[in-house]
Structures are given as C-alpha cells and as structure tokens.
C-alpha cells in the first residue's frame, strides 16, 4: 500500500504542474481559437525562449528580471515572425498543409537547436528556500512561477474582455467571415493574436527554465499534451483550457506515483480520447 502522504504530495505537485501546463496552453489556445491553425511548433518557440534565458542568466550573468523581459520580447517577435512568414501564405490552404507547415518548422527549430547548442541538457539553478507544510515539500522555485502564471492568465483574460483589441480578437474567433463583412481587418487581429500568443510562450520559457532543463527535444515532452489540453478545454475557451490543464496534470502526477510515469501519460491520453468522443466541444461545452 502506498503511503497517503505520497499521494497528497503527488496531488500538490500536480497542481504546480497544472499551472505550467495552463500557461503553455493559454498562448496556443488563443492562436488556435482565433486563427484556427494548430501551431505544432508552439512549444518549440518556448524552448527557444528557455535557451535565451539560459544564456543570459547562466552564461552572461544578467539579472533574472532583465532576461525575463528579453524572453517576453523574443517570444512576441517569434510569434509575429511565424505568422508573417509561414501562416499568412497558407491561410487558405487545406488544414493538412497548415498543420504540416508548422510541423516542418518544428523539425527546423529542433535540428537547428541541436546544431547550435548540441543535445546537452542545460539548466539554470537558483537557490531558493523550500517550505514544508504538513509533511509536504513546497519549493519556492515552483510556487513563484505558479503565482506568476496565474497573474498572467488573469491579465490575458482582462485583455480579452476589457479592451477594444481583445474584443476584436474574440469577435474573429467567433466568426471570421462576419468580421470581414463588418469592414474589420483580420490580418491586424491575427498579428496581435500571434504577438500575444508568442508573448505567452516567452513568459512560459522564462518560468520553465527554473524547473526543467532545456534541450532541443523539449517540445516533444510537452507539445502533444499542450494540444490536447486546448482541445479538451474547447478551442479558444480560456477557462476550459485552464481547468483541463489541472485535470491532465493531476492524472499524470497521481497515476505516475501509483503506477509509473509512462502509464500516467497513457491514462491522460486515453482520458483525452474518450473525452473527445463524449464532449467534442470541450469540457465546458453543453452536450448536443
């Protein structure tokens, strides 16, 4: 029998992992919902931002906040770059080709990272205290990113609901043709969306580097899970993706302790498949 304290610790770790997954899913979900294209290479953009953090903080000794700002800007620039160079020419193509173009980008980023920085795992370690609450260890290095990611999600929510641009973004995600008929320019909305999505990737990269070591195949570790969370939550549904992140992270974390790491992921993926059949519009959608 497994000691309940391990399960409790796994559940707490699951919540912390959920915060990270929610942050990853947030930017992708925004792009997914508004532009209706799956950026297969999204987590690879996060990986590039993690490398930027690593070099600035660990190699050049920049303060963390300055490196974090650079990472945010880099993320936004990459987001706009991907949109203008790859997505814009294929907006009208069949979904397969759109999927594959970003898939080609994934190969490109992964291999170029291998070429530039080899496959060594690189990490930034900060010495932060660890707290013990009721026998469960809570490292500050995981709590602070969790808190920042919650703040970022609230900020994104306010941006989407309280500003003019945010309203335009939501309008496009609901009906892009009607938006064009109203005389609005979808391309501008797309660029802002890509920039915000990229910004989120930059933020995720800046926070993840303190918990995970970065290597060229980092995208494969979190990529599939991130798409699944977006779909599970309902495309473009921010609250749904947020809840879905925690469902997936709890499944992975708890069954990882009870069984094995791989089986944790297997169960999470099977839950995803079953949920697609049961609730194709995501967990927040009403059953048709």
């Amino acid at each position: 029998m497994i000691d309940p304290i391990f399960i409790a610790e796994a559940a707490v770790n699951g919540i912390l992992l959920g915060g990270i997954l929610a942050l990853l899913a947030l930017g992708l979900n925004l792009i997914f919902g508004v532009i209706d294209i799956v950026w297969i290479a999204y987590v690879d953009l996060v990986m590039l931002c993690m490398y930027a953090m690593y070099f600035l903080v660990q190699v050049y000794g920049w303060p963390v906040w300055a490196a974090g700002l650079v990472s945010l800007v880099l993320g936004a620039v990459l987001g706009v770059g991907v949109h203008l160079l790859i997505i814009t020419p294929i907006l009208g193509s069949p979904p397969v080709n759109q999927l594959l173009a970003t898939g080609g980008l994934l190969f490109f980023i992964q291999s170029f990272a291998t070429f530039l920085w080899t496959t060594d795992h690189k990490s930034v370690r900060l010495s932060l205290p660890s707290y013990e609450v009721a026998g469960i260890f809570l490292p500050a290095g995981r709590i602070i990113p969790f808190a920042i990611s919650i703040v970022a999600m609230v900020a994104l929510y306010l941006f989407l609901t309280r500003t003019y641009m945010g309203t335009a973004i939501r309008a496009v995600s609901q009906d892009r043709d009607a938006m064009r008929l109203m005389g609005a320019n979808p391309q501008r909305v797309y660029i802002v969306t890509s920039a915000v999505g990229g910004l989120m990737a930059g933020l995720a990269g800046a926070l993840l580097i303190f918990q995970y070591s970065v290597h060229p195949f980092f995208g494969g570790q979190f990529g599939p899970l991130t798409f699944m969370i977006c779909v599970l939550g309902g495309l473009g549904n921010m609250v749904g993706a947020f809840i879905a992140s925690f469902i997936m992270s709890e499944i992975i974390s708890v069954s990882g302790v009870l069984w094995s790491t791989e089986m944790g992921y297997v169960i999470a993926f099977v839950v995803f498949i079953v949920m697609i059949f049961a609730r194709p519009g995501g967990i927040m959608a009403k059953r048709q």
């Binding site: 291999s111 070429f115 791989e262």
Partner: protein
C-alpha cells in the same frame, strides 16, 4: 500502348534489373537506400488511402509500431516465423484500428479533431511499448533474434538483394491496392464522405461502414510495412517506429509527393530519403543537426509553394499542356471541420 505505359514499363524493368547493374562499390549502399524507399513508400501509400479522403491521421506510428513489435516479439519469445507473425500483426492491428475507428465515425470526429485523436493514439502505443520494458526493451528497443545463417523461415538474409525484391513486390502490391480502390465505387463514396458526411449519408452512402473499412485497410497495410521494416533492419525501437516523429515523417513524405496520385507517395518518400542521405553525406559528422535543419526548412518551403505536392503539380501541368486548355482545378482536401 500509350507513352505513359511505355515509360512505366521501362521504369519497372530498371527496378527489376537494378541490383545487377554495375554500380561498383556503392552497390550495397544503393540497394540499402532503395529498400528503405520501397518500404516507406508502401507505408506512405497506405497512409494516403485515408489521407486523400480527408481522414488525416497523425498517428500511423501506432499501427506501424504495433505491427513491427508483434511479429518481432512473437519470433523472439515463441520462435513463431515472421510469416505467421505478419498475419497475426496485421490481424491485431486491424482489430485495433477498428476499435479506434468505430467511435471516431460514430461520434463524427473529423478534421483537426481526428488528427489529434490519432496523434494521442500514436503516443499511447509508444508509451505502452516503453512502459512494458520487461519484454519490449523499453526505449532502448529490441533486436530481432538472429537465426543461424540465411533463413527463409526467419526472413533473415545476408544478401540485401533478397530484401530488395521482397520490398519491390510489397511496393507493387501497395500500388495495386491503391489502383483498385481508385477505380472502385468505394472511391466515389469516400470522396463524397470527405466532402460532406451528412450529404453523403442522405444519398444512401453507409458513412461509418466506409470510413471504418478504409481505416482498417490502411492500418493493416501500415502494420505489414512495419513488419517488413523490422525484418530488414532487424531492430525495433519505439521512437523510430511509433509516436509523433515517425507519424509526421510519413505524412510529410506523402504530402510532399502529392497524396491524390498513384505515385505521389513514392516520389515524396524517395525525395525525402534521398535528401536526408545527401545532406547526411554532405555534412557528415561535422555539423550534427544541419542536415535535418535544411530538411525542415525545405519542407516548409515546399508546403507553402507546392501545396498539391511535387508529383501532383508536375502531373497536373503536363496534363494541362497535353489538353491544350486549362484543365480542371487540382482537387483540394476537404476543409470541413467538426
């Protein structure tokens, strides 16, 4: 005989005589590359049976891995000949595909959603192979237990030419299946379903039966390709035979060549493998990762500028010129979504 048939016949004659052509020291290597092209073209063709009707699977690695591991493990542990192992592998994968395809058609999972469900299925199989490491060897993979000398019973031969002819037969068989489907009523039915399921059902097409049948056929052929590849390489690994990486590689090759034409998957596979080999030889061990970098970049450029595939685009251009007038617009994949 039409000029097309003459060219095709000559091409086939070259392929059959290929291993005996005087290629000097590069012969072994050329045959090795050719076998890989033939097997992966066969797998790509199997994928395109579904892909051309809008069933874009991103998880064919699941079927490939299931097939390769079934025959390999049956041989390693029970000494069952891969000939029978292939039958078991194909049957098992067929049943597995049915289990995946039934709810997909029952709940009308199409478009992005179908892609993501199959992607998850591919990952599930890869992770299960890794998790069952006691007998699958986990992420280290497992070698096919070697028989003593050449053995038709174990499908193990020192001479690569045997594999070459086996792969050639397999490839031709795949083309035959593709051709038969292309000429059948099922193709019209499947195209109608790919365009609009509700409309297809309203004219009396049994939508789920067709979708399930094509999925099982595609999965079974993919499993057969997996068995063939495992026998040739004599080593199976969850990352090279299952999961996202290999699934995407199959799709890339097919889309690059063009999935709406008989030889599209073959042209795409041959080009991607040739490109990979050329870059690998060109850069050697000096710039690790550079070959794949250029490969990825070219993929993006090709998909943006030649969306209906290289072979598809060239063929359409020739046909337009032959007809002397603008031909029908190139068929596009259906853009329906759930």
């Amino acid at each position: 005989m039409s000029p097309g048939r003459v060219v095709g016949g000559l091409f086939l004659a070259v392929l059959v005589a290929g291993p005996f052509l005087p290629l000097g020291v590069t012969r072994e290597y050329t045959i090795h590359v050719a076998v890989q092209v033939l097997i992966w073209s066969f797998i790509g063709g199997a994928w395109s049976l579904m892909g051309r009707f809008g069933l874009v699977s991103l998880g064919h690695g699941a079927f490939l891995g299931l097939g390769a591991y079934t025959s390999t493990l049956l041989w390693n542990f029970y000494g069952l000949t891969p000939w029978l192992g292939a039958v078991v592998a194909v049957a098992l994968t067929g049943v597995f595909a049915l289990i995946v395809a039934y709810p997909c058609s029952r709940f009308q999972v199409i478009g992005h959603y179908f892609g993501l469900v199959t992607l998850a299925v591919g990952e599930v199989i890869r992770l299960l192979i890794i998790a069952e490491r006691n007998w699958t060897g986990g992420s280290l993979g497992v070698s096919v237990r070697s028989a003593v000398g050449d053995s038709a019973w174990a499908i193990q031969f020192a001479d690569k030419r045997v594999f070459y002819y086996g792969a050639l037969v397999l490839w031709l068989g795949g083309l035959w299946v593709w051709h038969r489907l292309d000429r059948s009523m099922a193709r019209s039915a499947m195209e109608a379903i790919g365009e609009d399921e509700t409309a297809a059902a309203s004219v009396g097409i049994h939508v789920s039966r067709f979708k399930m049948a094509i999925t099982v056929l595609s999965a079974a052929l993919t499993a057969l390709g997996g068995v063939a590849y495992a026998q040739y390489i004599a080593y199976v690994n969850p990352d090279t035979l299952s999961g996202i990486g290999v699934s995407l590689r199959i799709v890339f090759a097919v889309v690059l060549g063009g999935m709406y034409s008989l030889l599209g998957p073959t042209v795409g596979t041959a080009l991607t493998i040739a490109l990979g080999e050329a870059l690998r030889i060109g850069f050697g061990l000096k710039f690790i990762g550079m070959a794949e970098t250029i490969y990825g970049l070219l993929l993006v450029i090709f998909i943006i500028f030649l969306p209906s595939g290289i072979y598809g685009s060239i063929r359409d251009a020739i046909r337009r010129r032959a007809a002397g007038a603008p031909g029908p617009p190139a068929r596009q994949a259906s853009t329906s979504r759930a």
